[in-house]
Amino acid sequence: MRNVLRRACGAFRPSWALALAAAAALPLGLGGCATPLDTARRDFYAGQLDRAERALTNAPPARNRVLYLLERGTIRQARGAYADSARDYIQAADELERLQTYSVSQGATSLVINDRVQDYTGVPYERTLLHAFTAQDHLALADWDSAAVEARRMITSLTPERRGNYPEDAYSRYMAGFCLEMIDDDSNAALQYRQANALSKFAAIDPATGRLTPKAAAAKVIVGSLPPPPPAAAGPAPAAPAPAPPPRPPAERPAGRPAARNTAELMCFILAGRVPGAPDENYGYADDLPVYAELRCRGQTLGRSHILADTAELASLTAQKQALRKTAKTATRLVLKRVIAHQVEQKNESLGVLTWLLLLFMEQPDTRQWETLPRWLEVARVPCPPDLKDFDVVLMTPGGAPVRTLHVTQPIQHRRNIFVALCRDLAPPVGLVPVRGPPPAVAPGGASPPPPAKP
């Protein structure tokens, strides 16, 4: 039998041209078809949320299971299907726990083919944001205890044991703090707010109240809060200060909570833009991203949002951390592939060349990532009317020019006097004029659907 095979191989000596042609045809065949993930992402950024979700209804390939769940969870959250979205995210988190065990078989295969054959486990900032996004779902459903469960998971994922030396973000810390605040775990909330403040570049966060101010303005507030110097001119002793007004009755607030919190507050989590993806995939998404938002209600400006995380920056820092390890692995893989091809070449020269070309074409970078993540993760915590039913989110350019307005009617949940809302901005596809003027109808999830695509 062995002799028969040897004779057959020996008889089959394809020319170099044939080997090259066969190898050249491979990438055409491999790269020609869009995966359900690509379709779903494109539909998502085109505002076709139902279609995007339908693209991911079938069971995913095992190695991309986590990625499917992450993308579908985000699509469902944008659709307003918060319970389904939370289920997807929780499944993804469970799957990630399981994948903590390193698969030797997949590791070995990845040394011969490429890193895409391994299960997708995400990068540390994605694993943390997974919990932040699950918490958003719970907050949208007014399920405060479950949101606090996610807060604790977020805190665990940010420990050095889990995160290593990868970057952490202020948004997740703030989200953890807020979820804990909502279940009256004030001391732990303050701890998270303090850490969020240390991580935040643009906003100063008061650990006691969780309120945000721009970093520069915060410095002025601290200076302004110092007691005024005594008057230089001699004169009669200043009168005793007027007696302090009687404390407000502790209606609707637990003991120990600062009285300042007794006014109604709106906490709005604003998600805008898209995480930078592979260079050839922008899914038709516009680049002119707004970077902050103003919240308006009944003709009055309530306040503005503050950027707490930029996923582009997180992705870039993560890539820098991974660069050395990835380069070393790629170099090892190339050497292994050359050795394999050389071994085949010694038996059959043409087959060896074909093998080498095949192995080279399989050398593809692992660019998988959670691509429906927004770029800007922002928080607005502003005073609001106690009977808040709806409000507008006006997205602004860095220069302060309005870009579009989203009218938010749901989800708006509240506990005691804190209202919680969630808003995802999906910018209109490239080539379409951004919506201005009267606010369009809002889709569940807070984001206005982009106008229908022009033919």
């Binding site: 929780i90 903590q100 065990t101 390193y102 698969s103 030797v104 078989s105 205890d145 479950s146 606090a148 469960v149 604790r152 998971r153 665990t156 050095p160 044991e161 290593g164 279940i183 775990d185």
Partner: protein
């Protein structure tokens, strides 16, 4: 030489047959009854065995407590709920339901159905409008609870630090605090803690 040549395929065939025979049961879908009293933990996390142990222990402690012994009659209670302060999704309603069932079965405590108030009022309203006078329930005769049951369920986790290892050790420590408050005086009249911990080893390398 020829003998050796024959021996190799025979060995391979035997191995395949063994693997196939043993593998059938492994790869076949199957179901089996599990004794609910069987103590088994598949992970280090809170599970149904813990729930049963905790509820039975708490109820036994409460039934033997001075607080309940000193009650002239079975007190009326309501359950405000147990707050889940752990890192896992645990159904606290399930836990309080078990406690309520065990306490009711003891006959020494009475409960109002605080979770079905809306339905109760709706049914009373319906009866007032549609039921015959002799079968109508009287309005405004509901019992008021004297005591409120509440609690919290907390978790602390410890795991081995980052180091060269083939498995990770995780220890989960759980504590359920259970308290009864007098609704009239807001005095906490009884409280109890139940603790349990579990260690698990998670392989970091697998096939």
């Amino acid at each position: 030489m020829k003998k050796n040549r024959l021996r190799l395929p025979a060995l391979a065939a035997c191995s395949l047959a063994l693997a196939g025979g043993g593998g059938c049961a492994m790869f076949r879908a199957s179901t089996a009854e599990v004794d609910v009293n069987q103590r088994q933990h598949l992970t280090a996390e809170y599970d149904f065995t813990d729930m049963r142990d905790v509820t039975q222990g708490l109820v036994a402690d409460l039934l033997n407590s001075n607080f309940l012994r000193q009650q002239p009659a079975a007190p009326v209670m309501m359950i405000a709920g147990v707050q889940n302060r752990t890192q896992q999704y645990a159904d606290m309603k399930n836990l309080t339901d078990s406690i309520r069932t065990l306490l009711l079965q003891s006959g020494r405590v009475r409960f109002i159905n605080e979770t079905r108030r809306a339905e109760l009022l709706q049914e009373q309203g319906y009866q007032a409008a549609n039921a015959t006078p002799e079968t109508q329930v009287a309005v405004g005769r509901q019992l008021g609870a004297r005591y409120m049951i509440s609690g919290s369920f907390t978790q602390m986790t410890d795991s081995t630090p980052r180091q060269v290892r083939v498995s990770k050790q995780v220890i989960n420590f759980y504590k359920l605090t259970f308290e009864i408050t007098d609704l009239q005086s807001s005095e906490m009249v009884w409280t109890k803690e139940k603790e349990f911990a579990r260690r698990a080893s998670i392989p970091l390398i697998g096939w």
